[in-house]
Symmetry: C2
Subunit: 414 residues, 2 copies
């Protein structure tokens, strides 16, 4: 079994070729990858069946088992996603800024690939293909460290992708799976200074903390979203109703779903009983402070509830006396992901937008819109909740860096 460092070193050696590969050939490789998944259909489903058997034997069930499952339809979706990348603009070579200095030096800041992107993720085989496709299109080699539960599926998928690369005379090590799925392998990825240019953990808070706490390579944190919706006393309550419902119920298992509802005391009497009824009909369990218990029939919330990303049909509810109290609650409990306000008061909206510290701030819109696809980026590798390098949905451009190209005619500094 190859060590983590060997895998990373091979990816690093392969990367420069891709950095110079024109878009047309990268697109051809994406098409070949999609074709390989179509043709290798049975191989993937067999491997996945093996993972599913093992998972069931370990009593994995529910959402985890569902995420691990690859069906023929899902596999079609996975190769369709690869084909969608073909149509996206290649960020490599874009000139971000350009100017000419008084001395005649011409400066261009040009987008170039990062080099090697490593990704640590949980038992979702589709991430293997998504990440490989996004890395390829943005000119980067990728090192993929999926979970042990998906190792057979990931191995089958990676093998198909690697075979597809060779049909385009590209080195297969551009897509490398880490065979070692022990905890130690995450640690080793984080120590691969000089080999890994960016490490992206994608998963729950525990995974992210494990990666960040022990990494010496640059990391972009993704995905933990303890998102709030604040319904102001100047809210249009119909909009508030639709937004709160959508933010909580549309897809509760994802990071941009709402976890806490804050309602201004001025509208709580009207708004809370109505929204509670709707949410309860949707199967949402409510916990809350004394007022929410009284008005929405919520169970008592503990201090922990305000900090919990449920990722489930569960919502914490608090009644606040003022915008200030809502802002203070969000500052204390938010995870810098997405925060929403519902209000018709322009000054209140401006203040919320200006004071809330988050990747995305929504005014009269659902938190669910923080998404690369929704933003029109076409695809995303994750949603960054950190401030450095990339913040919010990370598309292809966020997988690149830049280089200053300075062209002169013999200029020296005086």
């Amino acid at each position: 079994m190859k060590t983590v460092l060997e895998v990373c070193a091979a990816a690093k050696r392969a990367a420069p070729v891709l950095a110079r590969t024109p878009t047309s050939r990268k697109n051809a490789a994406l098409e070949q990858m999609a074709l390989a998944l179509d043709a290798g259909h049975d191989r993937v489903l067999e491997a996945n069946a093996q993972d599913l058997d093992n998972a069931r034997a370990q009593a994995v069930a529910g959402a985890l088992l569902d995420r691990l499952t690859v069906t023929p339809e899902r596999l079609e979706g996975i190769s369709a996603a690869l084909r969608e990348l073909i149509a996206l603009t290649d960020p490599v070579g874009q000139v971000v800024r350009g100017f000419t200095l008084p001395n005649g030096l011409q400066i261009r800041q040009v987008r170039v690939p990062l080099g090697v992107i490593a990704m640590v993720y949980e038992g979702r085989p589709n991430v293997t293909v998504d990440a490989a496709g996004l890395a390829l299109k943005s000119g980067n080699a990728c090192v993929l460290r999926g979970s042990s539960t998906a190792i057979a599926s990931n191995t089958a998928l990676a093998a198909l992708l690697r075979e597809a690369l060779t049909t385009q005379d590209l080195p297969p090590d551009l897509v490398s799976l880490v065979p070692d799925t022990s905890r130690q392998s995450v640690k080793e990825l984080g120590r691969a200074r000089g080999l890994v240019d960016l490490l992206i953990p994608r998963g729950g808070a525990g995974l992210i903390q494990a990666v960040v706490g022990d990494s010496q390579v640059p990391v972009v944190e993704t995905g933990v979203g303890n998102c709030h919706v604040y319904v102001d006393d100047a809210a249009d309550l119909d909009k508030a109703h639709a937004i709160v419902r959508n933010a909580k119920v549309h897809r509760p298992s994802v990071c941009n779903a709402a976890e806490t509802l804050l309602v201004h005391a001025g509208v709580a009497d009207t708004f809370l009983p109505a929204i509670a009824e709707t949410l309860r009909a949707d199967g949402v369990a409510l916990v809350g402070d004394a007022e929410a218990q009284r008005l929405a029939g919520a169970d008592p919330a503990t201090e922990e509830d305000w900090d919990t990303e449920y990722l489930d049909l569960r919502l914490a509810v608090r009644v606040v006396d003022s915008l200030e109290q809502a802002l203070a609650h969000i500052a204390e409990h938010g995870t810098l992901h997405t925060e929403a306000i519902v209000t018709e008061d322009r000054a209140v909206a401006r203040r919320f937008v200006s004071e809330v510290d988050a990747a995305a701030v929504m005014v009269n819109a659902s938190t669910r819109f923080t998404d690369g696809g929704e933003f029109g980026f076409g695809a995303e590798i994750g949603i960054s909740t950190q401030k450095l390098h990339a913040r919010g949905p990370m598309g292809l451009a966020e997988l690149t860096t830049t280089k200053y190209v300075v062209e002169g005619d013999g200029q020296v500094r005086g």
Copy 2:
């Protein structure tokens, strides 16, 4: 003595006020800071005399002592640099991108401050003021951890800057000096997750490695430059002569000075004897491979020489057989800072630009141009040699992050 975490926590509490402070008031604070330095002239010089006495008692001499020294003229320069920041465009509030989705949602990606920027640097009191000024203008609180050799000077400077902030009703903790200058305090800064949004080490390779190797907060590495000039066989040798001389001699102690000269064998016979004579007259010591010893009278180079950032009047010289060999040498020994080629061959220049991995690639220009001032950024906090977040000279914009502001009319996701 306040602990490092107490200093960081106070800065974090102060930061939001500055994020909402309009440019005019930040500029007024910069002016007050400059006035405070002018008025506090004697206090600073006295404190500096104390640092210099201590340094001499510890046998500090040469360039280190020079950098530590504050003269009346230098102090004028320091406050002039603060005033120059007033004229620069405030990056906060700039809309980086903006678009409207088909569903009517209006999205703006807006520049916002990072929050708290911590800086670890060596015995240069001017950095205390430069960093405080850049942080203030970009809307960030700063935590400054200078070296023990400059502690009296830094304390006097920080006290004056903090007094100036209060004249504008801004919290003094926006500029905070870490009183503890032990090695442990650097470690503690790196552990201040949630309090420090960006940690910038500015100094030699040892300092940078110490910060990076042990940090859990986001770091941008700056400053180590093992820069090469490659003189191609299609070079205009007059341009090459001027560029090599400028890159080595103009200011050898800085990171964008050249440390290694690579010369194509096709022009080595002509070029090397001439440039060697010039450089020797400038006081430059040469070390090199066998050909460089023969043609330039260089002393033998060791393997270590190719990896050494001399920051001194010393140059390593190697004769290469091809562009490929030059590229391979740079890939092996470069530090991703600045690399230069001298050539009149368009195809060679294009290949060098495309294949060299560095923050800046120069064609027919001195390496010395990689500089925020030269690039027209007005000021820089350092030169990033990493790929994430910022690459190359870091001006005010690189001290910010962005926030997506999404405005709607009740939109929900379908």
